[in-house]
């Protein structure tokens, strides 16, 4: 997941510019491509969600199977705020994000000292609890029917007020949020914090022994990721003008995992972006052709896990690095300077470690 240092330290990278440019022109050609404006909004929203989610899955190695809960919390809080208080776009979004962060923070207290499967299972359990609450608490959430008639408040800029009623206007607003999220997360993953997260994923024990309080990092990243999910959820409730419990279901939470992985979240920052685009396009294009699109998609998914678990981004990186390798094939490998005290000797043969000291010998 390492990027070139120059790209890593910049606010904006070449990839971002390309991505934003492509997405900014989307409303101009999406209909010509046989699709529709609204799809663009959903794709951009789920990309935000996916990027935030990958902070957990790809960067920290924490598989959450209940992340839909926070997406849903964002959606409900945004809707409820508009209904109970007053119509306000930015305040609603901020509140939704904070609420999801808070919920994430509470859940993370239970989760942060869990690892692997226990972590995954606890996320499922919490996800189900939130989902259950959304369905049961009908006086607040509207139960299974959902929270309806959520407005799309205008974007107030002091001098001007931009209505977001049309899908294109909302798309550009979501794109703006997306751009902010991309830049912020890009900074984050290259910051010391992001680097520590990746270190924790690679080797939690060592991270602890070099002095990091791993619990706090896990807690922080879970809460942050929940906040991003909540942000995406608030936008989704605007797009749909309603909030439904389904986005909190185990199935929906599984889908975001699937998207992130198909795209290649394990190997690339852009994995979830690719994955979301692929999933949505597959759903809309295949879904119109066959009612069993899920079967085909499932098969593709299985095959890709089997043969290309690094996902689409992995395939891409391999091809790019393959080209690079070819180009530099003749260049001699730089040899290390062997200092006086170096133990770096010629031998490469792996010797079997003496194991089996006591139960502690890992």
């Amino acid at each position: 997941m390492g990027a070139r240092p120059s790209a890593a330290s910049a606010w904006i990278s070449g990839e971002m510019v390309c991505l934003f440019a492509v997405m900014a022109t989307l409303p101009l050609w999406i209909e010509a491509a046989g699709l529709y404006q609204y799809l663009g909004i959903e794709i951009a929203i789920w990309m935000i969600y996916g990027l935030g989610f990958n902070l957990l899955l790809g960067y920290s190695g924490l598989p959450s199977f209940g992340h839909g809960a926070f997406f849903g919390i964002g959606a409900y809080v945004f809707g409820l705020f508009q209904a109970w208080a007053f119509e306000s776009l930015l305040l609603g979004i901020a509140l939704a994000t904070v609420a999801a962060f808070a919920a994430g923070a509470v859940v993370a207290c239970f989760l942060s000292h869990r690892r692997g499967i226990y972590f995954a299972l606890m996320t499922i359990a919490f996800g189900q609890v939130f989902w259950f609450i959304a369905i049961k608490w009908h006086t607040v959430t509207g139960g299974e029917d959902g929270l309806l008639n959520i407005p799309r408040p205008a974007l107030e800029l002091g001098v001007a007020s931009l209505p977001l009623g049309s899908n294109v206007a909302l798309f550009y607003f979501v794109l703006l949020v997306f751009a902010v999220v991309v830049v912020a997360l890009w900074r984050l993953v290259h910051s010391p914090f992001g680097k520590v997260l990746q270190a924790v994923r690679q080797n939690e024990e060592r991270a602890r022994f070099v002095g990091y309080n791993v619990w706090r990092f896990k807690w922080a990243v879970f809460s942050l990721s929940a906040a991003v999910a909540g942000l995406a959820g608030s936008l989704f409730s605007m797009a749909q003008q309603s909030a439904y419990p389904d986005v909190m279901s185990l199935h929906a939470s599984g889908v975001i995992v699937m998207m992130t992985l198909i795209g290649g979240g394990f190997v690339s920052f852009w994995g979830p972006v690719v994955g979301v685009a692929v999933y949505f396009l597959a759903r809309d294009v295949l879904g119109a052709v066959t009612e069993t699109w899920l079967l085909w998609f499932g098969l593709v998914f299985v095959v890709s896990v089997l043969f290309k678990p690094e996902g689409i981004a992995g395939v891409w990186q391999e091809r790019v690095s393959g080209v690079l390798r070819l180009r530099f094939a003749d260049a001699p490998l730089r040899s290390g300077r062997t200092g006086d005290v170096s133990i770096v000797g010629p031998e490469h043969g792996e010797t079997k470690d003496a194991i089996g000291q006591s139960p502690s010998g890992r």
Binding site: L57, G61, P63, F110, H113, R114, R115, G116, I117, Y118, A120, L121, M122, I124, A125, F126, Q128, V129, F132, K136, E204, L250, H251, G254, V257, M258, L261, F266, T292, L294, L295, F297, G298, L299, F301, V302, V305, L306, F307, P309
Partner: protein, 306 residues
């Protein structure tokens, strides 16, 4: 204040059924350190296979087919309960062959593969048998109801609970009394040791996966007359299985049984007082237990935590 005794008994029988659902899941998790998300789909597949065996479309076979259909239901049912899990085991083994590519990689890959497999199996079921509700016939002897202490109980439920006890004991005997069981138990904690014993790990995994899948199929057959049968019935099975394993402790046979019974009791008792909370009770139980005991009730340290 309702009389609690029937609810406790009912919770217990439900718990045994939950334990039955969790058995196959437990074996696979314990030995292979793999969460088999396709467990639910294999569960459903077992029931569908059984349905076909009990009432097959055999008109193309002529008199042979008619002869088969004329056999008593109990016989066809017995055949189904023996044969369908074997067929599911074969499917499971096929899945295991696919799984092999993911060994040695991150545990998440196995999780994802089985997630995908669950999706595919469910869609195939839908394609073959249609999306609608199906019905699994059961022999007269175990259908109907009986009266006890003024209340009616389902005969089938009792039969299913007894069957679950029987299956649990059988698996236990297998684990305790056969060399295979000893290997599986060893494998559950130390694959290094299995290798040192000179056992073919590849075959062991195939066997375990087949066994786990077969048990899932068996649970499907037993539960279907209670839950009904539709393509997505598996999700109703995989989540409790998941929960029970974690509650009981990964890799622990008795943990799974205990976990199942506890969940059954929780659902049964909340059902008596506040039925609207009965499903949530499972999750709250899990969160409470795992918060206090990180590895579940009887769990030991697992590779999956790393």
């Amino acid at each position: 204040m309702p009389n609690l005794v029937p609810h406790l008994l009912n919770g217990l029988s439900l718990g045994l059924l939950f334990a039955l659902i969790a058995l196959g899941f437990m074996l696979i998790v314990g030995v292979m350190e793999l969460i088999n998300l396709a467990h639910g789909s294999l569960f459903a597949l077992g029931a569908y296979f059984a349905m076909v065996i009990i009432a097959p479309e055999l008109s193309w076979l002529g008199s042979v087919g008619e002869g088969y259909q004329a056999l008593p239901l109990a016989m066809r049912y017995g055949l189904a309960i023996l044969l369908a899990p074997v067929l599911v085991a074969v499917v499971g083994m096929g899945l295991e062959l696919c799984m092999r590519r993911t060994y040695g990689k991150k545990a998440e890959y196995g999780l994802l593969l089985t997630f995908g497999a669950a999706l595919v199996i469910e869609e195939i079921i839908r394609l073959v048998w249609g999306p609608s509700e199906q019905y699994l016939q059961v022999p007269q002897a175990v259908s109907g109801a009986f009266l006890f202490a003024g209340l009616i109980y389902s005969k089938y439920k009792l039969f299913a609970a007894l069957f679950a006890v029987f299956a649990i004991l059988l698996v236990w005997l297998f684990l305790e009394r056969t060399p295979y069981g000893a290997i599986i138990k060893a494998g559950a904690h130390d694959s290094e040791m299995v290798r040192a014993l000179g056992i073919n790990l590849t075959r062991l995994r195939l066997l375990v996966f087949g066994l786990g899948a077969g048990l899932a199929g068996l649970a499907g057959i037993v539960l279907t007359p209670i839950w009904g049968l539709r393509p997505h019935v598996g999700i109703d099975a995989v989540i409790p299985a998941f929960l029970i394993i974690v509650l009981g402790g990964i890799g622990s046979f008795w943990g799974a049984v205990l976990g199942g019974i506890l969940v059954g009791l929780a659902v049964g008792i909340t059902g008596a007082y506040a039925s609207e909370w009965s499903l949530l009770s499972m999750y709250l139980l899990l969160i409470a237990v795992v918060t206090v005991r990180a590895r579940g009730l009887l769990g030991r340290k697992s590779v999956l935590e790393a």
